[in-house]
């Protein structure tokens, strides 16, 4: 073995230095990240190649899907069904939905994974309008959502579903919702973390009790209120 005399423990210093840098970075991150995402967000507007999307933390939305592949829905043949504990089960086309009263909700969208997008205008039909149109029967207590990706599902209590900031969304940022963003129709539950806003929405079923959705079965909360959005919060 080499003698330790006349040698320096540089390896340990590099190791500890790296750890220290990382700890400092966690503290400094919120500030640095805002600047970085802001710059990158602006750059990506000017970047037709999409290369900026490969850089870390590009800001904006990130693509999440729990299915391997999702077939595109043809806007002409798309149908949304409303069923379960209702008087009049519905089968609505995109045009039917567009003909209903449109509501705009503009909030910060926050994902549990840590990314967020500020002030996103979302337009669509209030879920409560749809429920009224179908006529919820007695004994109903919850709403279950299914998706044409064949895998995802979500749930809300009937009380949550009737909030004015819960939409069956048709537009985001003044454009029809793209396939990758869950179009043509997705749920938008503004007061909750974004996983509640099921993409590729195809079915709404009024049920007696909450049936946990896809992520909820893996342990994520059913009531995924954003900080400050809990009912009763001043």
């Amino acid at each position: 073995m080499m003698p330790t005399e006349g040698t320096k423990p540089i390896g340990r210093r590099v190791f500890l230095g790296t750890l220290g840098l990382g700890a400092a970075a966690i503290v400094a991150a919120p500030t640095v990240q805002k600047a970085w995402s802001g710059t990158l967000g602006e750059l990506s507007q000017l970047d037709p190649t999409g290369v900026s999307g490969l850089l870390p933390n590009p800001g904006g939305f990130r693509y999440f899907s729990v299915a391997g592949h999702v077939d595109r829905a043809d806007p002409a043949t798309y149908r949304l069904t409303v069923g379960g504990l209702v008087d009049r089960p519905l089968e609505l086309s995109l045009a039917d939905l567009q003909a209903m009263r449109q509501t705009r909700v503009t909030r910060e969208i926050v994902c549990t994974d840590g990314w967020s997008v500020e002030q996103v205008p979302v337009d669509g039909v209030r879920l409560s309008d749809l429920l009224d149109r179908a006529g919820v029967t007695g004994g109903a207590g919850a709403v279950r959502f299914t998706c044409f990706d064949g895998v995802y599902s979500e749930s809300l209590t009937l009380e949550q579903a009737r909030r004015p900031d819960v939409l069956v969304a048709l537009q985001m940022e003044d454009k029809p919702i793209s396939h990758n963003s869950g179009g043509p129709v997705r749920l938008y539950v503004a007061p909750m973390y974004f996983y509640k806003s099921a993409k590729w929405l195809s079915g709404i079923e009024v049920t007696e009790k909450v049936e946990p959705g896809y992520w909820e079965k893996t342990g994520w909360p059913v009531d995924a209120w954003l900080p400050g959005q809990e009912p009763g919060h001043a």
Partner: protein, 208 residues
């Protein structure tokens, strides 16, 4: 029985020397495999075109999380190996030769004469990546931890984890490209043996 007359014919020095024991190689390959799973899954989660292609977020995230959190385990188990502990000691200590090696720079093709079992570049890389992996494990666990620990801003933790992904990616790519460029170094990690001539040239201080 006739007397054996060993020593009359000088025994030829073996052309190979032992560089890595079985334990050291096992540590290397276990870590490499976990790393590969972890980084491939990470790419499928966060590089948008790959995310489009692969989807299956729950499955991919589970592979990523478990592979990632297990990365330090082979090294920790490896501490039972005497040879591995000696490697760590070597990596930690910088000698005058290491300074010479760094000062000589990449253009000096004979700078290997200054290096011990590991050259200064290998020592710096190993020390850095050990720290970087720990940061990734800690930030990764914070992200895995769902809603708790909200006093640490999630977005900041994700940002560090993201940056770390790219830095580690570059680091490991550099490590692999060095190995690709040196078949003898690869033989060392594959079989445990390297040519004595290679050892003398590239790790001159190692065999004494």
């Amino acid at each position: 029985m006739p007397e054996t007359r060993s020593g009359v014919i000088p025994r030829r020095e073996s052309p190979y020397v032992a560089r890595f024991t079985r334990a050291e190689r096992a540590i290397h390959y276990a870590t490499a495999a976990l790393f590969l799973f972890c980084i491939a899954a990470a790419a499928c989660l966060y590089v948008t075109p790959l995310a489009h292609l692969v989807g299956r977020r729950h499955l991919v995230a589970t592979v990523h999380e478990w592979a990632g959190v297990l990365i330090p385990v082979p090294v920790l188990l490896g501490l039972a190996s005497h040879a591995f502990r000696r490697d760590l000691h070597e990596i930690n200590r910088f000698h005058d030769g290491d300074r010479e090696w760094l000062r000589a720079g990449g253009s000096d093709r004979r700078r290997g004469r200054f290096a011990g079992k590991f050259n200064a570049g290998q020592k710096l890389y190993a020390s850095w990546i050990a720290g970087a992996v720990l940061i990734m494990v800690v930030t990764g666990l914070l992200l895995w931890n769902r809603f708790s620990l909200t006093w640490i801003p999630r977005s900041g933790v994700l940002f560090i984890h993201d940056i770390g992904f790219y830095l580690l990616g570059f680091g490991v790519a550099g490590h692999i490209s060095k190995a690709v460029g040196d078949p003898e170094a690869r033989r060392g990690m594959r079989t445990g043996l390297v040519r004595r001539t290679w050892a003398r040239e590239t790790h001159g201080q190692w065999l004494g």
